[in-house]
Amino acid sequence: MTAIPETVGRSSGRLDGEAKITGRFEYGVDAARPGMLWARLARSTQPHARIVSIDTSAALAVPGVYAVLTGADTEGFVGSRYVRDEPILATGTVRYAGEPIAAVAADTEEAAEEACRAIVVEYESLPVVESVDDALAEDAPIIHPEWESYWVSPIINRPGGNVVSHATLRRGDVDAVFATADRVFEDTYEVPLVHQASLEGRVAIAEVDDDGKVHVWSSHQYPWGLRQDISDILHIPLDDVRVTVTGVGGGFGGKLYAGVEPYCIVLALATGRPVKLRLTREEELTATSPRMGATVHLRTAVASDGTFLAREGRLDYDSGAYAESSPGVVSVGLMTLPGPYRWQALAVDARAIYTNKAGCGSYRGPGAPQAVFAGESQVDRIAREMGIDPLQLRLHNAVRDGDQGPTGQVLEGVSLVETLHAAADKIGWDSAGAGEGRGRGLSCTWWTTTGLPSSADLRLGEDGSLVLVTGATEIGTGAVMAGVAQICAGELGVDPGDLTIESADTETTPYDFGAQGSRTMVAAGNAAIAAASDLKDQMFDLAAAKLGCSPDDLELADGEVRDRDDPDAVLTLADVARLAGTGNGLVGSGTYEQPGTPFDTDSVVGAMIGAFNIPSFATHACEVSVDLATGEVSLDRYVIAQDVGKVVNPRYCEGQLTGGAVQGIGQAMFEEIVYRDGHVQNPNFTDYKLPTMADLPPIEAVMVEVPSASGPYGAKGVGEQGVIGPPPAIANAVRDATGRAIRRLPITAERVWAALRGEES
């Protein structure tokens, strides 16, 4: 590990801050192209039906309309990255209410909308599959009768019928260990669908040039993934697609896959004009890849002293009508249902199951909140029923350095115990037992820092200017515009403000695996360190030749290259850049790729993720008061203690902990996409309730630093983990306050009130 530069550990400002506070920052919704048309999508009004006919003649007659495309025009254009099951426009069958049936381009958004309304569709209704239980029933209608003909990513295990994918984890002899147990606990938990609800929805523009090259501007988290999706879905050669990321008004996993872009492209091809599509909030909440709901069956075997022995679980995730990212997400359930504890044996089955809802996707910490709500709620039940303090029970079973994770990976840099103590100290756990109607709860989580490559170029201009060119995408977290900037500037001995960052364009920036998996600052930060080191080597060689010294005598500080031993031997950055004689300064390049973490590959089947790289741990603690007459829960205090490895920017690092925790609190207490008869009942912010500042206490964040071996200066991934812990922490506090377990989210007053009256939640 290199020495830690002065810029690291400071709450510097972000490079895009000024543009954002003045309203000058250009988001996807603000982007425009000359001659641009507007697109709208006509959507299915039925959750499951055969399309008998589509009549677009009235739509084509609407003034200003340039093109109306239906499934007949887009035959063979099929999406979903791992199981190709989702035609971009429905052909023959619609499988959820809100599924796109036709795409319209017009000279105004209003005309495109009017044309959509003028499309006449005749349906023949099919029975609606409303839940995973419905889908698994013996006589259930098969949502994809032709499932066997779909292309499938090789790793996925597909039993067929309504089961999209089935991943398993087997470690040790579960039956034998259960037979030795003093106590066995068995529960079922249920989690509904929730939405990323980034304030900027999905939006893109596509333009096709005379040579057929496609240029897409999109508010997106992963431009190379999008480029690959577009190429796969629309059969366009990869190199004929360029993706430029616009400003991103929030992503949270909702902008990792192709969404609106294919429609823009087919309409641009049909009209010869650039086409823009932005979704309304209603479309977002009814038809764009929310977090899967899940039903979780869980059994845990425990010894009389509270030692965890074995855990057996079945996670039935509700994938909605299409696979999207669900086959990858379910494998996270294998990693997170056991929790960060020691086990003698484990057996976990995680399935993604088709229903007639919107196809589900990725949302911050994908797959984990469902599993951890079950796992950590049950840990609490075990503690209380065995008369053991929930903190002590967790400390007793917590993984330590050198232990194995659920799939046999050897754990390093383990910090669970540190976070347990930090959270307990902060909330004052010893004085627990808050009294009538008040309660405290804990939960523990662990999470990964996704690897895969990131590259960077660092340009030193002849005027001494420094430009970091990175493929990494800034989606708001500050990982790029604060964290990577500080790392890169520090390595060069300049201020972050002296740096310009160009990012996230498949044609003009080097590759990055995307803003996903809590990886950006670790991966792009390491790539920036490598690029800085390459640039420094080149600079020192040139400067040493000029100054007549050895490169080893030189240092880079305060924007100068100087000989440590000779105060007069100084060159400015511009001097050095000109020494190169290229007319264009110097370029340093660097690539980083986290080597995969070894694990017991025989322990899993059908899992797209088998280990957590650079794992990090966290403990949540909270205090609630419950109105025993109404069931209303007030969240009085909330503590999150998370291991971040090394803090690069305290303000934005803490912002990830608090922001993540508040999204998790939303899932715990407020949020649910409510379906009835296959239709979303609450497709707006009045009825889909996000937490407001009035609903929340200040979030007390503790950044624990247990360094990793390979993150920049020991940093670990930070972004996702905060969202996972709140549902069980709050459920456990409510149980402490009321004596009642809440086994279904969200924890609303109605649900608590029913539990207080002894009704099953």
Partner: protein, 171 residues
């Protein structure tokens, strides 16, 4: 189409727009003031907040025709030629992540400071609860508004003490 004239950020604009045009669309599309954002179009998120005669309103549900002749302030005009203290506090205190909620928040916060001077954290949580943020968890936003309020109170206090010639005196 109807002819309108709107007074936005101190400048009088005359334009044609459909009779039912919302103020937000007129600002963004006709006047090119794209800093004001839309996230729900139903008056539920505060992203589109602008000031009309100093009062925060959701411009996505307000007809442009209703505000003819009134003084409209958007994020672009909030600080006059420079930055409003609340904008600076947002940037300095980490209240900005993706920033999509920021224009609506700073405008609403500026109106709050105008009205109450130096609000407490609880007051901020109460008064700005109509503005949603999905990124920050709100704490840094609350801190920024409180700090901008306290700073302007302090500068008012010091100006007052200078004016009255009393050292350490308050207003």
């Amino acid at each position: 189409m109807t002819a309108f004239s709107l007074l936005v950020n101190g400048v009088e604009h005359t334009m044609e727009a459909p009779a039912g045009a919302f103020l937000l669309d007129v600002l963004r599309d006709s006047l090119g003031l794209a800093g004001t954002k839309e996230a729900c179009a139903e008056g539920e998120c505060g992203s589109c907040t602008v000031l009309v005669d100093g009062e925060p309103v959701d411009s996505c549900i307000l007809f442009a025709g209703q505000v003819e002749g009134r003084k409209i302030t958007t994020v672009e005009g909030l600080g006059g030629d420079g930055l409003h203290p609340v904008q600076e506090a947002f940037n300095a205190l980490g209240a900005v992540q993706c920033g999509f909620c920021t224009p609506g928040f700073v405008v609403a916060a500026a109106a709050l400071l105008d009205r109450v001077g130096s609000p407490t954290p609880d007051q901020v949580r109460e008064e700005l609860a109509g503005n949603l943020c999905r990124c920050t968890g709100y704490d840094n936003i609350v801190a920024a508004v409180v700090s901008a309020g306290a700073a302007s109170e302090a500068s008012v206090a010091s100006a007052a003490s200078v004016a009255s010639g009393v050292r350490g005196g308050g207003s």
